[in-house]
């Protein structure tokens, strides 16, 4: 039975991986812990419900990771995708601590898939959860229950009282009723604000109406906004986020992995006017997929179309929605609601710029267009073999990067640079300290786990003196 009259050592706000890591760490350090999850039990876990893997530094092959992924390479990858926009101290701490993540998780019942053998896959850098994120959450929640962590579902945190360099009472709405939570220390692990369309509109205007939210609809950013309003130091650009181009037929929220489309490098991508707007073959797809959400968001109507032909059909993982097909380019344009003449002309000009050469779908093959703007730098083959195939694309936001600034103890910092003594943050709400732009697959889970563990440990230490 939950008793909200008592004072807990640690209150954890949120119910995803970062929150669970914080709650488990705090409890294992001897603290009494309350976890407040906005979602009902069946939808618990925030975006962690949709995750697949975690990026992990390692010096040698293990049962779940191939070869080695040293600190310097991890750092170089992170530094490159963020174009230098990362806090090196925190990032290096993240990288080093990531090496401990698989073992720590396995000790709490999380299972990983054996490493996939093969040349080009993520098994070298990323450890894959057996069954994915929901299986991970199930394991962690089970341990949390067994350790006596009080878990309250359907409980949205409304506000925290920041005063005198410390956080006081937490106001929440729990199973429909107002509730006041008292805790000696608080961990904010409540995610970004990507599911708050009104907030997105403040920065994107009406365009935000056309975004899809790939993950949990419960990421309303309420705690984030509340902390920023009370003087917590912000970090990151509010328009920056992890956003990929997904199938435009995806549901508004929670479509997850099955709405993803990997057709772009083997296609041309046109906007609603039938015009190309970016180099579809710029680089290997795993290094480029996370820029396309933003690219499509900047097009009129926030929509685009991936156009390909029968030769390319088997080269990529399709989305769950069936492709549009037609015997002619004009016919495909009609099905997609595009001007047939415009699309035919774009395809004609693209085909005319294609040069002969060897095609290799598995890696950048240097087969580029000539005299075309924008160019297609790799995998440029004529679109000439019916049936012609099309997918509509829209921006799919995974999570936003605007967050609260933290120090190496995961303590939240105020605008004056002082740490709030008993307030800690982990996961998406502070991911902007590491990720200012771009994305590296599996980094979100590394941030959530590493900073969740630190936040929980530090919160327990603060509470228990």
């Amino acid at each position: 039975m939950l008793n909200l009259d008592r004072e807990y050592d640690v209150a954890v706000l949120g119910g995803g991986n970062a929150a669970l890591c914080a709650a488990l760490s705090a409890r294992e350090a001897g603290a009494s812990v309350l976890l407040l999850e906005h979602a009902p039990r069946g939808m618990r876990g925030g975006n962690s419900r949709h995750v697949r893997n975690v990026r992990t530094m390692h010096a040698a092959p293990t049962a779940i990771l191939t070869e080695a992924y040293p600190e310097q390479e991890y750092w170089d990858d992170l530094n490159r995708v963020t174009a230098g926009g990362t806090d090196e101290g925190l990032a290096r701490m993240l990288i080093r601590e990531s090496a401990l993540v698989p073992h720590w998780m396995e000790a709490r019942g999380v299972r990983f898939q054996p490493a996939l053998k093969g040349t080009l896959n993520l098994s070298r850098t990323n450890a894959f959860f057996l069954g994915g994120g929901k299986a991970l959450l199930n394991a962690c929640y089970r341990v949390a229950e067994r350790l006596g962590i009080d878990i309250r579902y359907d409980s949205e945190v409304l506000s925290l009282a920041l005063a005198g360099g410390a956080v006081g009472e937490v106001q929440a709405r729990s199973q429909g009723f107002p509730a006041t939570v008292r805790a000696k220390a608080v961990v904010a692990a409540s995610g970004g604000f990507q599911a708050n369309i009104a907030w997105l509109k403040e920065h994107w205007g009406e365009a935000a109406e056309n975004f899809r939210v790939r993950g949990t609809p419960y990421a309303q950013g309420r705690v984030l906004r509340n902390l920023l309003d009370q003087g917590a130091a912000p970090v990151g650009d509010p328009t920056q986020c992890h956003a990929v181009a997904i199938d435009a037929r995806a549901p508004r929220f929670d479509g997850g992995i099955v709405t993803r489309l990997d057709s772009i490098p083997f296609s041309i991508v046109v906007n609603r006017d039938g015009q190309r707007f970016y180099d579809e073959g710029e680089d290997a797809w795993p290094k480029r997929y996370a820029i396309w959400g933003r690219l499509v968001a900047l097009q009129p109507g926030q929509v685009a179309y991936s156009i390909l032909d029968a030769k390319a059909e088997r080269l990529f993982m399709p989305s769950v929605f069936p492709a549009f097909r037609a015997a002619t380019v004009g016919g495909l344009a009609q099905q997609l609601g595009l001007d047939p003449a415009a699309l035919e002309e774009t395809v004609r000009r693209f085909n005319a710029a294609v040069r002969p050469g060897a095609f290799d779908g598995a890696q950048p093959d240097g087969r580029a267009t000539e005299g075309l703007a924008p160019p297609k730098s790799n995998w440029a083959r004529a679109i000439d073999t019916p049936p012609f195939i099309g997918y509509p694309l829209c921006p799919g936001i995974t999570f936003t990067y605007l967050g609260v600034k933290v120090n190496e103890r995961a303590q939240v910092l105020t605008q004056s640079g002082r740490a709030v003594t008993n307030l800690f943050a982990a996961g998406e709400i502070m991911a902007g300290n590491i990720l200012s732009q771009g994305y590296l697959a599996g980094t979100g889970m590394a941030i959530g786990t590493v900073f969740g563990r630190i936040a929980g440990r530090e919160a327990a230490r603060h509470a228990r003196g």
């Binding site: 898939q113 057996l130 069954g131 929901k134 997850g256 099955v258 088997r314 399709p318």
Partner: protein
């Protein structure tokens, strides 16, 4: 639900799963699915029978209810499996026995016992049923040897024939072809004997809820190996009787009694445990419509073994006659319902595993 709707739902589930693939480490269904981009009816029938209903994918599913996609693979596949059992039943009109299978199996039990009792009373004086009998051929004093053998051979022979024809139909209609080579045959046999795919990639399966445990796999081993031991016991006894002219009952330390006792204990523990699991398990990933038939068959298997053990314990008393008749009644019922109950999942799944092993081998050769 009409077959077309069951397959439409199974197809929708497979299309979502094939765009996700997070569960690929759990069992054979997902690697088999990944070899396909579209799912013909035969593919779905095959995949549904490859599923061991371990429920791991349901609890791991980001699209399971209350998500709007409402993906429930174990339920969709369980319903389709039952449909394939009915569609391939031989002779064809018997397909309808699958519609209310719990009732059918229960009636078979009642009629089996009644038939054996009536047959006994018709063929022997009533005193034979209540008297204590001793020595070789004691059982035949209650039920004449010729009647026992004739009924058993006819019922069991028909069951084997119907099962074989049903599986052959399933094999062909699911689109499988060709003769298996030794390697895939050995692999499939290994999968069947170890129930590898109830292993959930090493951690066991979701017997009751989100937690993993090896319990169900162990109970199933108890039941199926127990069944095989009982079958072996009966075979040995038949050989003793016919080739050595040594009729039952046999002393406790004889092959038929040792095999039968071990097998019977395995079956009782297995069937009882599986029944208990069905009662306490989270019903969300199950198909409620199939529960009656599943429970009835477990009850029949458990009672067949329990009455056999009881007969062994009390065979030198006056209760032997009635117990023998009741035991043989359950055995008769089991033979009769074998091809028209959940029992067919065994050969159907073995066939699906063989096809999986053949596909895997073909893939490895490429």
């Amino acid at each position: 639900m009409p077959a077309a709707e069951l397959r439409a739902e199974a197809r929708r589930v497979m299309e979502v799963c094939n765009a996700c693939r997070y569960c690929e480490g759990y069992c054979a269904v997902f690697p088999a699915m990944e070899l396909r981009r579209s799912f013909a009816d035969g593919d779905l029938d095959y995949l549904a029978n490859l599923c061991h209903a371990c429920r791991s994918c349901y609890y791991a599913c980001q699209y399971a209810p209350p998500h709007e996609f409402g993906i429930n693979l174990p339920r969709a596949f369980a319903l389709l499996r039952a449909e394939t059992y009915a569609e391939h039943a031989w002779p064809r009109p018997f397909a309808r026995l699958f519609a209310r299978n719990g009732l059918v199996v229960a009636l078979a039990c009642a009629l089996g016992i009644a038939a054996v009792l009536l047959l006994t009373l018709a063929l022997r004086p009533a005193e034979a049923l209540y008297g204590a009998h001793d020595g070789p051929g004691a059982f035949y004093a209650v039920i004449p040897e010729a009647a026992m053998v004739a009924v058993a051979v006819a019922a069991f022979g028909f069951a084997l024939l119907a099962l074989a024809l049903g599986v052959a139909r399933f094999w062909r209609s699911a689109g499988a072809g060709g003769l298996p080579r030794p390697r895939p045959l050995a692999r499939a046999l290994g999968d069947v004997l170890t129930l590898r795919h109830l292993g959930g990639g090493g951690q066991g399966c979701n017997d009751r809820d989100e937690g993993f445990s090896p319990t169900r796999r162990r109970l199933h081993h108890g039941l199926s190996y127990g069944f095989l031991l009982c079958f072996a016991s009966t075979t040995v006894a038949a050989a003793y009787d016919h080739f050595l002219a040594w009729p039952a009952p046999y002393p406790f330390w004889s092959w038929p009694v040792v095999l039968g006792t071990l097998g019977g204990l395995g079956m009782v523990a297995g069937a009882g445990g599986l029944l208990g699991l069905k009662l306490v398990a989270d019903p969300a990933p199950n198909a409620p419509r199939l529960l009656g038939g599943d429970v009835a068959l477990l009850f029949l298997l458990g009672m067949t073994a329990a009455t056999g053990l009881l007969l062994l314990a009390l065979r030198s008393t006056g209760a032997m006659g009635i117990l023998l008749a009741v035991h043989l009644g359950f055995v008769l019922a089991l033979f009769l319902v074998m091809p028209y109950s959940k029992f067919v999942h065994g050969p159907f799944r073995a066939a699906a595993l063989l096809r999986f092993a053949m596909e895997r081998e073909a893939e490895e050769r490429r």
